[in-house]
Every structure is written in C-alpha cells, then in structure tokens.
Amino acid sequence: MEDALVEVDTVTKRFDDKGPPALDAISAQIAAGRITGLVGPDGAGKTTLIRLITGLLVPSEGTISALGFDTKTQAQSIHAAVGYMPQRFGLYEDLSVQENLTLYAKLRGLPPAERASVFERLLRFTDLARFTDRLAGRLSGGMKQKLGLACALIQTPKLLLLDEPSVGVDPISRRELWQMVKELTGEGIGVVWSTAYLDEAERCDAVILLNEGKLLFQGPPEDMTSRIAGRVDRVVDIAGRRRQVLTKALAVDGVIDGVIQGRAVRVVYRKDETAAARDRVDEMVKANEPKASVVPAEPRFEDAFIDALGGGPGGRSELAEKTTDISGKANGEAVIVANGLTKRFGDFTAAQGVTFTIPRGEIFGLLGPNGAGKSTSFKMLCGLLTPTSGDGTVAGFDLRRAAAEARNRLGYMAQKFSLYGDLSVGQNLEFFAGVYGLPRKRKRERIETMIDTFDLARFLGTNAKDLPLGFKQRLALACAVMHEPEALFLDEPTSGVDPITRREFWTHINGLVERGVAVLVTTHFMDEAEYCDRIALIYRSRTIATGSPDALKARVAGPSMPDPSLEDAFIKLVEDSEMDQEAAA
C-alpha cells in the first residue's frame, strides 16, 4: 500500500523469555484518511502494538516505520506528529478542562497566537465549551474521553492513536465520539481505534484482528464477514425455552457456533457442510418447536471471528448437569426482589427507586453506562451496601434483617478478578468452599466437580494470578457457584474476555438457569444483554425502561428504524427519557 502511514514488518514483542510473546510476527499497514480498527479481546496485544507504533516500546524483532520514521531510532520525530490517547485518557485530574488543553498546547509547541482559535474549535467540536472550568477528574467518562481526544488533537496530527476509547463510555457518547473521529478521517488523518467490542469492528474502514498476540485477519471488515456469508441462520418464533433450543442446536453436527439473541437463537454452520447442517437444524427445530422456523441471517463480524478460531465451544454444561435441579420447586416464585431500592451518598443519588423481581430460572440484566448506578443497585441486593430506602429479598431473606442468610444463598462474581492471586487454584477452591461452610464430604464432592467441569486439574498448584485469562474466568465462576446458590450475581462477568471464553461462560450460566437458578447480571456489552430474559435500562441512577430485549427493540422500531439494535433502542430510550425530564422540569 503506497499511502500507508504505518508499516509494521514482522514484529515480535516479548516481555519475558518464558511464555508466548505478546505479539507474534505481526505485519500490518495503517492507511491515511481511514479508521483502522485494532480489534481483539484483552491480552490480544492491542495496547502493545499501539505503544510499539508510538515508539514507547521497541520491538524484540522486526521493524515498524510510522510516518516514515523508524520507531526505534526516530521516536522523537514520531512524537511530534502523532496524537495518542492512552487507555486512561492521559488527563491531569487536578487540572481543569482549560488547564489541560493549555498544558498540551504548550507541550506540543502550539504558537500562542493560534491557541485561542484552536481551543475554540476543539471545544466546539467536543461540546465541552460549557465545562472549561471543571476539573477533569469531575467529568463523566464520556466527557473525559472527549477531552482526551481534544488534547490529542491540539496540533492536528497525521496519525491519531486511540487505545480503547469506548471503554467506560455510555452508548450515546460512544456514538458521538465515533462521529467526531469519522470527521477527522475526512481531513486525511489516519486513525487507529482499538477495541474489544466486535460490533465496533464492523464500522471500521479496515480491521487488524488480533488474538493472543497473533494476527487473525487484516483488511476491510466486509471481507471478514463475507467469508461466512450464507452460513448464518436464526431460529425465530420459539415458543418454549430458547436455551434448550440453543443447547440442542449446538449438539447438531455441522453447527460451529450458536448464541441467544433476544427471543431467537443464532447458529453458524461449518464451511462446506452448510446445506446438510441446515437441514439437520431444521429437523431438530421441527421436532422440538413446531411453530419455530429457521431463517437466514446477516453475518456478523463476531461470527466470522469465531469461525476463524475454529468454532465455539459445545452447548453442554457439565456444571449444570451436576447441579441440583430446583426449577420444579415452586416455579415462578421470585428469588430476587428489589423494591424501591435507593442509595444516596451525601447529596448524590447513586440509585433511585430500583424495582424489579426475578423469578426462578430467569436471567435479568442491568444495562447501562459506567456510573449510571448498576453496580450500586447490584451491591445493595448482595447485601454489600445498605439501601438508604426501599427493601429487597434474596431467596426469601430480607436484606436488611437477614443479610448473612441471604448472602449464603447467593453466588457473587465481581467485575474485577477478585480471587486470591497469591493462593493456588486448589487453595482458592478450598477457601471458598470453607467460607460457605460446606460440610466436609460435600466440600470434597463440590471441589471435585469444579475441577472436572472446568478442567482445572493441571492448574491446581498454579497461583491464581498466573492463570491464563480464560481460566481465571472459569475459576471465578467455580468459586461463585461452589455452594449451589439459588441466586447468582454477575457483575460485568465477561468484559474483555475473548468470545470463545464468553460463550463457554454463558453455556454454564444458561445451564444453571435451566436448573432453576435466578441470575442478575450487569453489563455494558449490548450483545451480552441479548442473553437476558428481561433487562432494565439504568441511566443517571434511574431505571428508564424494563422489558425483554425484543420488547425494548420493538418499542423504538419505526419507519426510520425498521430493525433497531439493542444499542439503537438504548440511545432512543435515553433520549426520550431526557425529553420527558426536560418537559417535566
């Protein structure tokens, strides 16, 4: 490519001698005037590649040239001409918006005469003009991101490197940010946008797809998705339990991947076997769900990603099979009840009047941007925070009066890896079984079950912090379900993990739900929300809408948006709620 801004030539990066390299013989180009998506799960090597391009890291092998300069020897020249926004924005939180801009303007040597006009343009562009005196630390996630972008754009760069700009940003800000970046490409700037969200990949002009340090694909995203054209179907109009349909579909020969998508089930067929596999799925559906039908679906980037990795995991959950079935026990009884839960910290209301009930065998999702109040509501129901007003029960126990009993009936998986990193896998299992007070014999049984189902035997002596990411995830789930809880609380359970691990995780959750466990999950992954039976949209500490994913989508569907995504629905509902608020005010 002649107009390549960045040329990465068989670059390998090792941080230590043992273990696989962080990047393994990567060759890639980044073009001017386009958004290049650097896509992959956590640990894929996205940040490492961006730092290599800026010259902040040097390759162990291979060379990179950025803007015609060698990153190893001419890093200073690169720094003068690139805009870089690291993952944590690179803003000084004690400085105001204006002070941050001025600092970067001086550091980048913007002549004083030009400052006023540049600031004005950037503040207008980012819509931050009203907040120039506010400290950067007091801005919302989306506003911080915009300010970070503005600081990176002070001296219009030739190359703009954005490391996970959409993390911690609500869908509306995310869309605005994307729009802003899109505008920049019109001026000929080359943009690198790194992300773990596969749906963002589809919108990029070009994609560099990384997984575990290896390059899986490079090129326009359509080229990737077209590889699986005609191999994706949806099973729609399922009257009964769609999770069972998914499990059965995944058991069909020739089906390499399947996920729940609202009321439907999405299936992907193996190459060269599509026709036969489709017939088998059709047969299976007819036998189980006479009213349902199999219809072709638009392929997505994620489907192609799974295909490139050789297919997803199967649909059987050994964990669920070894879990006591409580689905028959008083069916329909509410396991988790939230009734007007409100939490105030000083004058700040973190959650207001959160109300919902989750019956046995249902997944309920709290969906919303960071800081909206999801985690606060969640923590009140786990008994970790005492509500200012309102009440809640878990498995019949009142959170205010019997929090300890309630906690014994629930399993909790925290957002961050919250096991003891310095304890081995075996010691962690042992510890959690002890914490839940399992009797000796039962403890042995359950630990054995966990080791078998999650394939942990070979890691028993390994310290938890040294586990591969996917196994950390498995261990965290194992510890959370050790005592067969009736209610399972999952706080952003799969953010950043690769799609295979995520599918495996949801297979277990789906299996447990079929056995009667009630699940409350928080997420900002829109496609993860599709797994839920019902979701509550939380925005600025209030619940703005509750319903099944399909119902929420249907609420906003109209002539302008015939087939809205959940993200479209979210944005529309937030806009509507803001209009209502303004009207009320």
């Binding site: 941080f15 730092r51 800026t54 010259g55 902040l56 890291l57 040097v58 890093a75 200073q76 720094h79 003068a80 690139v82 870089y84 926004m85 690291p86 993952q87 944590r88 924005f89 690179g90 803003l91 000084y92 939180e93 004690d94 400085l95 002070e99 001025t102 600092l103 970067y104 001086k106 550091l107 980048r108 040597g109 004083p112 400290l135 600081c151 490197l161």
Partner: protein, 373 residues
C-alpha cells in the same frame, strides 16, 4: 519549531497547580512539619527531669547520713527512704521507683579508713535502659559533688582529679535543641523522597506519564519539571520549620542563613534523586510509598544520629550510615543551629550529600527512559 522554554514553563505551572490542589502534598509539606515539630519540641524529651528512687540508709550516722541528705537534696531525685532494702523491692518491681541507692552499714567505717575504699550500691531498673542510665549518672553526680564538698570542708580525702563537667553548645542539655533540627531532616526526607516518589508513581498509575511521553517533551524536561517544584516546596517547608524552631521552641540559631540554605539544598539532591529512583523502579504508588518509608524515612530516623548516636552503634551499622544522606544533614543542621558556621564541618558533609545525590540521579536517569519497557 516548538519553544523548549514554553514547554518547560508549562510543566512547572502544571506541577505547581497540582501541588496547590492536592491536599496530600499540603499535608506533607505544611501540616506534617508542624506535627513533627510539636511532637519533638514538646512531647518527646530525652531528658529525665526527676527520677523517683529508693534510698536505703542502713545506719543513719555521720558521713552516711550526710550523703543521704545530699541525695534527698538533689533536684534530680525524688527519694523514698527506708532502712532495709526489702521495704523497697516491691516498689521497684512495680515500677513505682526506678532505682535504689544502698548506703551500707559499713560506709562510715570505710569512709574514715586509710585506703578510702568507701562504697555504696546503685541498683537501677534495667527494663528502661535510658532511665537506668540517668539513675546511674545522676547518682555518681551526687556522689562527686558530695565528695568535693567533704574535701572542701577538710573532711575525708581529696579526689585525685576533680571533675567539673561543662557542656558546650547545649549547656542545658535540652534534648529538643537537637531533636528539632533533627526533625527538620525528617521533614525534608518526607518531602524529597516520599512525596516525590508518590507523585511520579501517580503519573505512571494514571497513565499521564504515558501520554506525556508521546508528546515532544524530553525526558529531562519531564523530570526536572517534576523536581523543581518539589525542591522549592521542600525549601519553603524548611523555612517554616526554622522560623518555628527559633521563635516557638527557642532553639538558638548560631549559624547563618546562607549556610542553612546551602546545607538544605545539598541534601535535597540525594532526597529527590532517591524519590525519583524509587518511582521509576516501582511505577506504583503503594510500592513506592513502602520503598520510600523503608529506604528513606526509617534510615533518616534511625541511622542518621537523629535519635541514636552514630558513635555508639555497632561498627557494621556505622559503615551503613555512611550512605544515609540524612546523617550529613543532621550533623550539619545541629551545628548550624547550636554551634555556628563551621565550614570545616559543613563542606565535607555537603560534599558527601552531593556525591550520594549524584549516584541516585545517575541510577534514576538510567532507569527512566522515554520508553515503557
């Protein structure tokens, strides 16, 4: 082309705004010195003013009675008298008294005898070695004074050498006179090492260091922009301490302000260099604070001569103190406050501090590159 001057100025302004807005730097630079000065100025004293002891006079006659009276008259002792040691043993065990002086029944006879080997016994409570020392020293003081009086009165024999102690520089032997300058050294260590290590580590943690590195700013500008404001802050804190020490605690200032300034500035080089090295090596606020406490604060406290005299430390430990920059600062500060401008002492100390500082800076510069690996 960009202007390095403007760039550097921007970094200084940024850092200064942060210092002013960050409560923790104000706390360490202004409030902590106050607390330390008050603590060492008023709270902690290494002088034992009055010690309670027991006095056993087995035969209250003649010289023995006279000596007993001298003990009772001493302003350092509050005396409980008994004729049998058994009456006082329980008090000693209970800690009501800190020692027992026994004037035996044989004292009179021996005192008058030709060989002059009159003896009395001092028992001190060894569970508090500091106080035990005082008991012993004060007791021998009383004895010497009494002996001198006896000689003057023509009774008993003249001692071979008459000891007349006179303390220079700190005639009252008030411990706060050397504790207050010492605590200034602690404050300087905290600002120079702990605060610097924390703020640089914070930039790594928050990702701002990474963002800075991807701008045209040079690594030297980045580090100097960080150090100069803290250099000024530490000197300001030093000035505050000096004013308080002189006005509030009456510590004499016998040396000159330029000498004090030269000593302080020389010390800040190793202190800041150490902070920088720690933050460059750890890049994490928690580890940085631990490392700064262990390698900066504790040696400054324990191995600098602040509390424990270096000369009375085991030889190996004395060698270690050679690389503790605070020892040179404390010696110089005590001199500048209590003795005056003695450049023959200052110059080697300043030289040692600059040398240690240079080593730290070379190490820090080698471990801080404009790179992340």
């Amino acid at each position: 082309m960009s202007m390095p001057g403007a760039r550097f100025g921007a970094l200084l302004v940024k850092e200064s705004i942060q210092i002013v807005r960050d409560p923790s730097s104000i706390l360490i630079a202004l409030v902590l010195p106050l607390i330390l000065l008050f603590l060492f100025g008023y709270g902690v004293s290494l002088d034992a003013n009055v010690v309670r002891i027991g006095l056993v006079v087995e035969q209250a006659e003649g010289p023995a009675e006279d000596l007993a009276a001298a003990f009772q008259a001493s302003r350092y002792f509050e005396v409980e008298v008994a004729s049998d040691i058994r009456a006082l043993e329980d008090d000693l065990v209970a800690g009501n008294i800190r020692g027992i002086v026994v004037i035996p029944a044989t004292f009179d006879r021996d005192f008058g005898s030709a060989d002059g080997q009159a003896a009395f016994q001092v028992i001190a409570d060894g569970s508090e070695p500091n106080t035990a020392n005082f008991v012993q020293n004060y007791a021998s003081g009383v004895w010497n004074t009494w002996l001198a009086q006896q000689t003057a009165n023509g009774e008993g024999q003249a001692p071979v050498i008459a000891l007349a102690p006179r303390f220079w520089f700190n005639p009252e032997l008030a411990s706060r006179y050397f504790l207050v300058p010492g605590s200034m050294a602690i404050v300087m260590t905290l600002i120079g090492t702990l605060l610097t290590a924390l703020v640089v580590a914070r930039e790594w943690e928050r990702g701002t260091m990474e963002a800075m590195m991807a701008t045209p700013v040079g690594i030297l500008e980045l580090l100097l922009g960080k150090l100069i404001p803290y250099f000024v802050l530490a000197l300001g804190s030093m000035a505050l301490c000096t004013v308080l020490a002189v006005t509030l605690f009456g510590v004499p200032m016998r040396g000159s302000v330029p000498a004090l300034l030269a000593i302080s500035m020389a010390f800040l080089l190793p202190a800041l260099g150490q902070g920088l090295l720690i933050s460059a090596a750890t890049k994490n606020q928690f580890v940085a604070s631990q490392a700064a406490l262990l390698s900066g604060f504790l040696p400054a406290f324990l191995l600098s001569g602040f509390i424990f005299e270096i000369d009375s430390m085991p030889t190996v430990i004395q060698w270690i103190t050679v690389i503790v920059p605070a020892r040179y600062l404390i010696a110089s500060l005590q001199t500048v406050f209590l003795a005056g401008d003695i450049w023959a002492l200052f110059l080697p100390n300043i030289g040692a501090m600059l040398l240690i500082g240079l080593v730290f800076f070379v190490l820090a510069a080698r471990s801080t590159k404009k790179r992340l690996d």
